[in-house]
C-alpha cells in the first residue's frame, strides 16, 4: 500500500465532492430538512395524541359548556378537532382522520368510533375511564430517568440514513460511472493498485460522511438541543464504524458493473428495505419475529441500535460490543469481497 498514491486519490475525490454543488448541498440539506420537519411536527407535543372530533363546532371552542367529563377535557393526550356535524364526523372516522367522535352536548354522552381502528378503541377506553376519574383510582407510577423525546430517538436514524444513501451512492454509483466513462481505465494505466484505489475511495467518503454528520449535528443541535446521555466520542466512533461498513457495501456493488441504471436499481433494492426495517423511522417492537430477525441482517440495524443506546441510554463500549463487533467484522469481510471482485474495466 503506497500512502502517497492513496493521498492523491483521496484529495482528488474530496475536491470533486466539495465542488459538485448539487451533491454537496443535498448531503447537508437532506438530513437537516428531515430533522427540522420532524422537529416542527413533534416539538412540544407527545409523539402520540388521540384526535377526537367534537360537534357541534361551538362546543370545541368552549368546552365548559359541554357534558364531557373534565378529566377527558383536560387530558394532554387528547386533541379536540371541531367538526360541523355528526355526518362529517362519521366520514372522518371512517377515513381514520380522527380516532373518536363525541357529541359535546349530549346528555347521554353519545360517541362514535371506527371499529377497525386500534387507536379508536384506545381513545374509547380513555373516554369511558374519564367518567370514573377520582373514584378509587389505581396507584400510579411515573417512569424515572431521562425522558427521551421522539426527536432524540429519531436523530440517529436520520443521520444514519443519510450516511447510508451517501455511502452507497457516493461510492457505488460513482465508481460505476467512472468505469463506464473510462476514468478507471485511465487510473489503471498508473501504478495505483485496486486495493489502494478502493481504500482511498472509502477513506474519502468516510471523511466526507463524518464532516457532514458533524455539520448537520451542530446545526440541528442549535435548534433542538439534543440530549446525548452517553459519550459523544463513543457515539462518533459508532457512526465512523457504521460509515465504513456502509461504504464497503458500496464498494462491493461497484466492483464490476458498467450500467448506472442497473447499479441504481440494486442500490434501491438494498437501501429501501434497510431504511424501513432498520428502525430509522419507527421501532419494530411488536412486529413479527421473522421480520425482527431479518432486520438483523442489515448493518444499519446494528449501527442504529448502538447509536441509540449510547445517545439515549448512556451505554458504554462494553454495552455495545456486540453491535460494534458485527459492524467491524462485516466491514472487513465486505472489503475483502470488494477487493477480490473489483475490476477496472468491466
Amino acid at each position: 500500500m503506497n500512502l502517497r498514491r492513496m493521498w492523491a486519490i483521496f484529495k482528488a475525490r474530496n475536491y470533486e465532492f466539495f465542488r459538485d454543488r448539487a451533491a454537496f448541498g443535498w448531503n447537508f440539506a437532506f438530513p437537516f430538512l428531515v430533522i427540522i420537519g420532524f422537529g416542527i411536527i413533534f416539538e412540544g407535543k407527545e409523539f402520540k395524541q388521540f384526535q377526537v372530533g367534537i360537534f357541534p363546532p361551538g362546543a370545541g371552542v368552549d368546552l365548559l359548556q359541554t357534558t364531557l367529563p373534565p378529566a377527558f377535557q383536560h387530558d394532554r393526550h387528547i386533541i379536540f378537532l371541531p367538526v360541523a356535524n355528526r355526518e362529517e364526523g362519521e366520514a372522518k372516522l371512517s377515513h381514520h382522520k380522527i380516532d373518536l367522535l363525541v357529541d359535546a352536548l349530549s346528555s347521554t354522552h353519545a360517541y362514535w368510533i371506527n371499529d377497525s381502528s386500534p387507536n379508536g378503541s384506545l381513545a374509547e377506553r380513555v373516554f369511558l375511564a374519564s367518567f370514573m376519574a377520582g373514584k378509587n383510582p389505581p396507584e400510579k407510577g411515573v417512569t424515572s430517568g431521562p425522558q427521551i423525546r421522539y426527536i432524540d430517538w429519531l436523530m440517529p436514524g436520520v443521520l444514519a440514513m443519510n450516511m447510508m444513501f451517501s455511502a452507497l451512492w457516493g461510492v457505488g454509483y460513482v465508481i460505476v460511472r467512472y468505469r463506464k466513462n473510462g476514468a478507471l481505465k485511465r487510473l489503471k494505466a498508473t501504478p495505483l493498485t485496486a486495493l489502494e484505489y478502493l481504500t482511498a475511495q472509502m477513506l474519502s467518503r468516510i471523511f466526507l460522511l463524518m464532516f457532514t454528520l458533524f455539520v448537520v449535528w451542530i446545526g440541528a443541535d442549535l435548534i433542538f438541543h439534543f440530549q446525548v446521555h452517553g459519550s459523544k466520542l463513543l457515539l462518533f466512533c459508532v457512526f465512523f464504524l457504521g460509515g465504513l461498513n456502509l461504504c464497503s457495501i458500496g464498494l462491493i456493488l461497484a466492483a464490476r458493473g458498467t450500467s448506472e441504471e442497473f447499479t441504481s436499481g440494486i442500490l434501491n433494492f438494498i437501501s429501501w428495505p434497510m431504511m424501513f426495517l432498520s428502525e430509522v423511522w419507527f421501532s419494530l417492537e411488536g412486529s413479527p419475529h421473522i421480520v425482527q430477525l431479518f432486520a438483523k441482517l442489515f448493518p444499519l440495524t446494528h449501527l442504529l441500535k448502538a447509536a441509540r443506546l449510547v445517545m439515549n441510554e448512556a451505554a458504554t463500549l462494553a454495552d455495545i460490543q456486540v453491535e460494534c463487533g458485527i459492524l467491524l467484522i462485516s466491514t472487513i469481510i465486505f472489503l475483502g469481497i470488494a477487493a477480490l471482485l473489483f475490476s477496472w474495466n468491466e
Binding site: 498514491r5 470533486e16 501504478p191
Partner: protein
C-alpha cells in the same frame, strides 16, 4: 540492438470474436512505431494488451527482453482513445493528482508549458475544448517521464494548428530518445511521424516496414494526371500505360521527367496537369481495400 518491445504470437478472443490473431512485431528503442488499420482491425485491442490494460488470450510480450513486471507501469505513458477525467478538477489539480501516482513524476509546470496548457491550468476539466482535452491527455501520458509512450489516435478531433503542435511534441519526444507507439487513421500523420509501420486488418498484421519500404512495395508507383478534356488520340503511341479514371486520364509511370517530355513533344497542353507520387494512403487502400468498414 535489444528491442524495447517484442510481441510474439499475440491472440485475443472475445466471446464470439477473434479480435487479435497471431500478431507478432518488434519495436526498436527511440523510434516512432505506427500501427495502422481500418476500424475494427484490432489496433486498440493490441495496444491495450501491450499496455497491460487487458489480458491476452495467449502470446508473449517482452519489455527490454523480459516479461513485464510491476515497474512497467512506472515506465510507460498512455494516451487512450476513449477515456474521461475527473470533472470537477482543474488541469493543474489533475496533473498534480496523476503526478502523485508515480514515483518519478515530471515537473508539472514544465509539462504544462510543453503541452501548451500553462495559460489554462486553472480551468476545470469539464470546461475544456476537444483540443485542450487532448493536450491534457497527452500531458498525463507524459507525467511520469516515460521511456515508452502509447498514443491511441492522439490527433482525432484536433484542428490543423493543434495537430501540428502535437506532431512537434511527438518529434521532440523522439529526439529525447523516447519510444512511441502510435495508432492513427491519418496517413499523413503516420508518414510524417513514423519510422516504422505495421498495417493491421482483421486482427492480423498484413504488412510491416518503414514508410518508404511500404510505399515502394505496395504504393503502385507515380502517375501523371491529365484533364479528361485532352484529345486521347494525341496520347497514342506513348510508351506508358494510360487509363481513364473518374473523368481524368492517368498515366502510370515512375519516370516522371520522361513522361512530361513525351507529352511536351506532342504539344499537349500541360495546364491542369498534376503529378501524384505514391503515398501511404495508396499503400493502405491497396492492402485493406476500398470497401467501407464499420
Amino acid at each position: 540492438m535489444q528491442p524495447i518491445l517484442e510481441i510474439h504470437h499475440l491472440r485475443k478472443r472475445f466471446s464470439h470474436l477473434d479480435a487479435v490473431r497471431d500478431v507478432s512485431f518488434q519495436v526498436q528503442p527511440g523510434i516512432c512505431f505506427g500501427l495502422l488499420g481500418p476500424n475494427g482491425a484490432g489496433k486498440t485491442t493490441t495496444m491495450e494488451i501491450v499496455e497491460d490494460i487487458i489480458e491476452a488470450t495467449s502470446g508473449e510480450i517482452l519489455y527490454n527482453g523480459h516479461r513485464r513486471t510491476a515497474t512497467f507501469r512506472e515506465e510507460i505513458g498512455i494516451q487512450f482513445q476513449h477515456t474521461s477525467l475527473l470533472n470537477f478538477l482543474t488541469i493543474e489539480e489533475t496533473l498534480a493528482t496523476f503526478a502523485g501516482l508515480f514515483s518519478t513524476p515530471a515537473d508539472t509546470e514544465e509539462l504544462s508549458r510543453r503541452c501548451n496548457l500553462d495559460g489554462i491550468k486553472k480551468q476545470r476539466n469539464d470546461k475544456l475544448s476537444g483540443g485542450q482535452t487532448q493536450r491534457l491527455m497527452l500531458a498525463l501520458a507524459l507525467i511520469n517521464q516515460p521511456r515508452l509512450i502509447f498514443l491511441d489516435e492522439p490527433s482525432t478531433g484536433l484542428d490543423p494548428q493543434s495537430r501540428r503542435n502535437l506532431w512537434d511534441i511527438i518529434r521532440q519526444l523522439k529526439e529525447e530518445g523516447r519510444t512511441l507507439i502510435l495508432t492513427t487513421h491519418s496517413m499523413e500523420e503516420a508518414e510524417y511521424l513514423c519510422d516504422e509501420i505495421a498495417i493491421m486488418d482483421q486482427g492480423t498484421i498484413i504488412a510491416n516496414g518503414s514508410p518508404e519500404e511500404l510505399i515502394r512495395q505496395y504504393g503502385g508507383g507515380s502517375s501523371i494526371i491529365l484533364p479528361g478534356t485532352i484529345n486521347k488520340q494525341q496520347l497514342d503511341g506513348l510508351p506508358f500505360s494510360t487509363l481513364k479514371q473518374n473523368g481524368e486520364i492517368v498515366i502510370h509511370t515512375d519516370e516522371i521527367h520522361q513522361g512530361l517530355s513525351s507529352l511536351m513533344e506532342r504539344n499537349i497542353d500541360l495546364r491542369g496537369i498534376s503529378i501524384h507520387s505514391a503515398n501511404l494512403e495508396d499503400v493502405f487502400l491497396h492492402l485493406t481495400g476500398k470497401k467501407l468498414r464499420e
